[in-house]
Symmetry: none
DNA sequence: AATGAATGAGTATTCATTCAT
DNA sequence: TATGAATGAATACTCATTCAT
């Protein structure tokens, strides 16, 4: 067998890329992608390194251990989601716009892309077991309710937030996903009476 | 002292336990316990076998592979939950009793024991990735809505079911878990208007 | 989950077939098929039992161990091959017919079906390591040379037999398999001079 | 006695042998030895690692999977055999020397050492089933015929090569191995007529 | 600062064989 | 007599992490 033939069997080395200042950052994004694709269980150092085209040793150089990386990845995910929802709330002026923003938040941000939902479920599961990640989950809820409090009372915000949660879960795992119309009807049923007595 | 006598003196090694007709069934229960304790990722053949005090080879004798075991375990979990909820609904006579049964279902069956919640989250996460387990999730939803339809229209049942889902998730992962009073208030806010126009 | 759904996951039991007098015989044939399909290494009790639709316990009931089964299977294979070749030689009257019978034996019996060749290679490999199976190999050679001695001297028979062997191996593993014409030319080149001085 | 002194007294555990730059290469050789000793089926990661005094994890670090290792091992084997035969052919000047080189190649290189034959049989068997290894087999044949074409026409080379193959198989598996004299007689019977009309 | 090599613990799964029924 | 249940040893392979360079 000639050396060139041998090379076909062994993975080709495409590297020697020493300078890569944003690698750490890029690895966190890659980690999220891998979690979405294969779950937390499938998000191994090896898999993430391969996906990011980075040497394996680089993983533990940048992150003390997997838990740290998970923490960073899910933090970023939650921040992104929370910020996006806050923009929707912030841009709403009237109560009716706020209602519709909730509907759009559910339909556009979650029901559309299964990737977001998968990440959320992975976070639920892991948060139930690891306190560090549970904190992230709680920050998300607080941020979410904070956004809702731009238009609703604290108590109502909590209820609405829970409702959003439920609609998303149901909407994504049900045999036939909820339509935008169904989501809108559900949101209205809960929030219409609230609007009458809303925060002034 | 004959060898057999000697064996009697030696600390019982729990072996030679050849006949064990309900082992398969017991293993499914053990699997659920292990999933609750360590997650799907931690529910390995070894761990379940150790917990059930059964030789490792016994696992793959009884279950073709891990997915089959997961399927059986989560099926049992879902059946138990669905049956319990159906009893609550069935025992309710008036709409007001049905409302309260929903509240009790949330508070007693889920918020009380974190184990049930953890199992649910694990199921969400794994259902989002494996079609076989997604089916279970969907059967659960259908069963749940079927129970609710004893007292509510199909459309309302779907909304209420989603709301229950959200209250449970929020209730269990929030910094301070929801109290029974808060849950009751939330349920009433959604279902009170429904009762007026309810199924006759 | 209903029982019927569960059955889909667990292998269906198609049995309770107690009376099966030729089972042992059938198992030997099945073993040969499995060896041809998956090699000696892939011919496990489980695989053969599955292929023959027979309970696993039946394997060790009929055969003391795998070596015995291998012995019986390869014996049958060799007997079949040897008998077939002997018929070819026996039916040849003239030296020219014997020559052509050799050609046909190579082309029709081996080069055509890769299954026979695979079984032969598996036998070579295993015979080189296990004395019991080496005996079978030697019986085959003797039978083969005995058949050839109907038309050639003992010394020539041995040479011709080796040549047949080589043509078969080359013919079956080469990039482009030998054609019937090439085989005929090769056989003639070796045996034509022999015919002149042949056994009278 | 300090712990470190204690360690010095304990029998060397051959560990902490971190740096071993030619390990991969050595493992390929060890693999060949194990295949020769126990067959492809017996050439397990564990066995090869033990034989090479290397930790088990080292095997899958160096080779993506067993097939890759088999490929590399048999490639090396075939290269060695082919090179050795080519030297014999290259060193022959006259046709008569070439004839004798063929004889010596058979007798010295194969009939003498059963290890080489066993490796060849294992390769046949595995080549019949795995396309990747079949390629190796074909490269071997091509190399072999290329060497023969230093002295014979392409057509004759193919026939002679097949004949060599058969003589080796027969010679090694027969009840009483062929003698050098018998091999020489056989080779002469086939090649003498060829020499008269040989390549000029 | 960065990484290729290395490793021990662990993974699901397969297996020949035993044995109580 | 025949077999389903059982099991300990073994298999290929993956992994997070360590560490010498």
């Amino acid at each position: 067998m000639t050396p060139s033939q041998l090379a076909a069997t062994t993975p080709t080395k495409t590297r020697n890329r020493r300078f890569d200042p944003e690698r750490r950052d890029r690895l966190i994004d890659t980690a999220l992608n891998v979690i979405a694709a294969k779950g937390v269980a499938g998000a191994t150092h090896r898999e993430i390194a391969r996906e990011a085209d980075v040497p394996l040793g680089s993983m533990t150089y940048h992150f003390a251990n997997m838990d740290e990386l998970l923490y960073l990845a899910f933090s970023r995910f939650v921040e992104t989601c929370a910020a996006r929802f806050d923009v929707r709330m912030q841009q709403s002026q009237t109560p009716e716009q706020a209602q519709e923003a909730v509907v759009q938040g559910i339909v556009k941000d979650y029901l559309g892309t299964s990737e977001e939902m998968i990440l959320a479920y992975e976070l639920y599961a892991v948060a139930a077991r690891k306190p560090l990640l549970r904190e992230i989950m709680q920050q998300w809820m607080e941020a979410s309710q904070h956004s809702l409090q731009r238009h609703f009372t604290a108590d109502d915000a909590r209820i609405i937030d829970a409702f959003i949660e439920g609609l998303i879960v149901h909407g994504s795992l049900a045999v036939e996903p909820m339509t935008e119309g169904e989501v809108r009807a559900a949101v209205h049923r809960l929030t219409d009476p609230l609007l009458l007595q809303r925060k002034q």
